[in-house]
């Protein structure tokens, strides 16, 4: 299959054509306007290619839907601890390419912390096999991290190898209604607690209401582990307020709520500045009828809105997560080493064949 992708890229280069990489199609609206001439369709490029449950390592083709990986892993009591915003047909290739993540990042990090290896076809048609199938690996330069979050602009991700985890013996979720002024208190509790939740999201009142948790800010937390551990964690969390037990399904409901909105972006700063980041995010989202949820331990707030608000310069950094082409702002603040990014792009895709324009390099 990678040979076919390589041929397609060679053909496109020779015709000075550009390619839009597509699989599930759930992220098509997410990136910058991408004026590619043709589509490189990976939707048939699916399937788990290797899975050794005892190693907690799974390999899958780029077009494999996350739900397929979830189903196969669940049969062995395992899961992939990535829960990006987006609809169920979303693929692992897109998740890695966009470095998307969700509430589970509290405990498990983002795609760069999960990916062990990958095969990608560069913009020059080279089939590159980076990383490996083991959980620890420093052989050669790290091309794996490089293509993670590169939005396909350095190569078409044809296969990925991922670190899997055991599903916790006990997995319980609770909602706690908190005072709007207690953002810092909740953050501090999480920071100082000996218990690390699988997820801990602070929901704005609008979001809480939308998913049926009342009309006040809610701290939604998920704890996993053996029974004594989870019981102790929940008992300890009672200092924050009354615990309302939820099913784990609540996390899908939360994901779907974000998905219904047209635009989503992430505001971030140092975790200790969470109150300022939270206030900034609410000021963006609330006036346009949107809502927000904060991954408190990481200092990141996701805002989802019906339309793109005006983003003013601030100490809070804004990452544009999913913005349809016609909602893109004319200009945006960018953080990073643009000159180096340009050189990387040229090194891997000199003719800008892959997803041209989707990143500003």
């Amino acid at each position: 299959m990678s040979a076919a992708i390589s041929e397609r890229i060679h053909a496109a280069r020779s015709r000075a054509e550009s390619l839009r990489i597509v699989a599930g199609g759930t992220w098509l609206d997410a990136g910058r306007p991408c004026p590619a001439l043709s589509t490189l369709d990976l939707s048939a490029h699916t399937g788990v290619t290797r899975y050794e449950p005892g190693d907690f390592v799974l390999s899958a083709r780029g077009g494999t839907p996350l739900e397929e990986i979830e189903r196969i892993a669940a049969a062995h009591g395992q899961w992939l601890t990535l829960d990006p915003v987006g609809r169920a047909p979303g693929t692992i290739g897109a998740t890695i390419a966009t470095a998307s993540y969700g509430p589970l990042c509290s405990a498990f990090g983002t795609p760069r912390d999960h990916i062990l290896g990958c095969e990608f076809v560069s913009g020059t048609g080279d089939v590159v096999r980076a990383g490996g199938q083991v959980v620890k690996n420093v052989a050669g330069f790290d091309l794996v991290r490089l293509v993670t979050g590169a939005w396909g602009t350095l190569g078409v991700i044809s296969e990925v190898t991922l670190r899997m985890r055991a599903r916790p013996e006990v997995d319980r979720s609770v909602a706690i209604t908190v005072d709007p002024n207690d953002v810092v208190k909740a953050w501090r509790w999480l920071r100082d607690s000996e218990f690390t939740p699988l997820a801990a999201e602070l929901l704005s009142p609008e979001l809480a209401q939308r998913i049926g948790l009342g009309a006040a800010p809610v701290l939604l937390m998920r704890f996993g582990g053996n029974e004594p551990l989870v019981n102790a964690a929940l008992t300890s969390a009672m200092v924050l307020g009354e615990l309302r037990e939820q099913t784990t399904g609540i996390w899908n409901v939360l994901r779907d709520a974000h998905e219904t909105m047209t635009v989503s972006l992430r505001a971030s700063a140092k975790p200790s500045r969470i109150d300022a980041t939270w206030a900034y995010a609410l000021a963006l989202a609330t006036p346009v009828g949107g809502f927000a949820s904060a991954t408190l331990t990481r200092g990141v707030v996701r805002c989802s809105m019906p339309s793109m608000p005006a983003v003013s310069a601030s100490e809070v950094h804004v990452t544009l997560e999913r913005i349809p082409a016609d909602h893109w702002p004319a200009a945006e603040a960018r953080r990073g080493t643009r000159a180096l990014d340009e050189r990387v792009r040229i090194a891997f895709d000199p003719d800008r064949v892959l997803n041209p324009g989707i990143l500003d390099v």
């Binding site: 390592v57 009591g77 490996g132 960018r334």
Partner: protein
């Protein structure tokens, strides 16, 4: 080396900090693998970040090659400078700040790994990646190698603990990679830089994430009649989903070396293998996990499982493990150190094969390794002055490496490729993959002046450049 260069560098750092005499340079001829010796043309030892930048700019002006070096504890020959400039960073040892609120620290590259944890202790924090050389190795070197350590099983390696780096590129530009204050945009060049073995530039400062000290810790010592039973115990623990903080194995040769040394830890000298297992976290639920792990060991055939009674006992058990390489140094004049990683389900089979290779070639393998990650260190002590023995050792190493690759593994888990593992890169990566690595290196260092000749075999990079030129000519 011209006198002019010496004088220009002396003008930056002072005359005493530029070393040119053979006797002075001897210190820098080897790293942790004394089997390799290369003498730098000159060593320059800056004390501030401005001095580092000024030096790199002088070297860039003259298109001169250089090698950055921290404490020189590396185990791949990666910090050796072969008749080029050696840039020693060990004087940049300032912990710039510890931000307890956000559990992070900003450090200069020469800060010793264990010193950071010691400084963070008063805040109830520590720096998790703990290479066995942590009492000497530096954070700059850890970043260059993407260093691991026993506790990386649960907490992740250097990559997972660095939030941002300020680096000077080989052309003298100073850039920030990653972000210490919210997310960053663009490609993950921070991720690409970590583990680039000094080929992409020089770290000026690193912002690292600290971990909170766990509420409770339990350290278990399980001993076995055979390596195979110990390996099966490892597989069972991993498969159970219990994530140990560390899960280490030592074989009888290693135990004997440790127990005969000043680092004697009270390991059972008649055991074929021992496992050192640490579980940590909240006290609630920990004893249940300890009981399950103990049962997995007994089911796999452990003769005995003992739990460290107090912190002093625990420290002693760990000291034996962490000083094992040093203990081996007492037995043989030379030591080859391997760092291959295999899928954890393949541990019993690969360890059996390593045993068979050792027996056939009559070499003395000491296995001491991060079993939980599948990261093997089959080390062989020998006398390099005996050509016949040296040849057998070399042959054994090549076969061990091939066995690990054949099992679906990799050639290095935490030590890096450096010079030592260059010969195995061709067996592990395809030509286009190494070409891609060369392309990435060229982004940071188009002239390949920073740590020349390491990581990717030179023939691969030159082929790539030839091919690129041909392509350009055709277009």
């Amino acid at each position: 080396m011209t006198e002019q260069l010496r004088d220009r560098l002396a003008a930056i750092v002072g005359k005493d900090r530029v070393l040119t005499r053979a006797g002075e340079l001897r210190t820098y001829e080897s790293d942790g693998l004394p089997g390799y010796q290369k003498r730098p043309s000159l060593a320059v030892l800056p004390g501030t970040r401005d001095e580092v930048v000024a030096i790199v700019r002088v070297l860039a002006e003259g298109k001169l090659k250089f090698v950055a070096r921290g404490a020189g504890t590396g185990l791949s020959g990666g910090a050796l400078a072969d008749d080029v400039v050696l840039l020693g960073l060990h004087r940049l040892k300032r912990i710039v700040s510890i931000d307890a609120d956000n559990a992070r620290a900003v450090v200069e590259p020469g800060v010793v790994n264990a010193r950071l944890s010691a400084a963070a202790r008063e805040y109830g924090l520590y720096y998790a990646p703990d290479p066995s050389s942590q009492t000497a190795c530096t954070i700059g070197g850890n970043v260059a190698e993407n260093a691991g350590g026993p506790h990386c099983l649960k907490y992740g390696v250097t990559l997972n603990h660095v939030l941002a780096l300020t680096v000077v590129l080989p052309d003298g530009d100073v850039v920030t990679l990653g972000s210490a204050d919210g997310e960053s945009d663009g490609y993950d060049l921070l991720g690409a830089f970590i583990g680039s073995e000094g080929c992409f530039g020089v770290v000026l400062d690193a912002t690292v994430r600290l971990e909170r000290n766990p509420q409770a810790v339990r350290t278990l010592l399980a001993d076995f009649n055979s390596i195979d039973s110990a390996a099966h115990a490892v597989s069972a623990i991993i498969a159970s989903g219990i994530v140990a903080a560390a899960l280490e194995m030592m074989d009888n040769n290693t135990i004997a070396a440790v127990e005969a040394s000043i680092y004697a830890a009270g390991y059972p000298v008649d055991a074929a293998a021992i496992l050192l297992i640490e579980l940590d976290g909240p006290a609630a639920g920990l004893e249940e996990d300890v009981a399950r792990v103990e049962q997995f060991c007994r089911d796999a055939g452990a003769r005995d499982v003992r739990i460290a009674s107090d912190p002093a006992d625990r420290a002693r058990l760990w000291q034996g493990r962490k000083k094992a390489f040093g203990a081996m140094g007492r037995i043989s004049p030379h030591l080859v150190v391997q760092d291959a990683v295999v899928p954890r389900t393949k541990l019993p089979a690969v360890l059996a094969e390593i045993g068979a290779i050792a027996k056939e070639l009559r070499v003395n393998v000491c296995n001491v390794f991060h079993a939980g990650d599948g990261n093997l260190h089959p080390n062989i002590g020998y006398n390099a002055d005996d050509p016949a023995e040296a040849a057998r050792v070399h042959s054994a190493m090549t076969r061990v490496m091939q066995a690990c690759i054949d099992a679906g593994g990799t050639i290095t888990g935490e030590h890096g490729v450096g010079l030592d593992k260059l010969p195995y890169m061709d067996a592990l990566f395809t030509a286009p993959t190494m070409h891609a690595m060369c392309s990435l290196r060229s982004v940071f260092d188009p002239d390949q002046r920073s740590n020349p000749g390491k990581v990717v075999p030179i023939h691969r990079c030159s082929e790539w450049h030839a091919a690129a030129n041909v392509r350009t000519a055709l277009e």
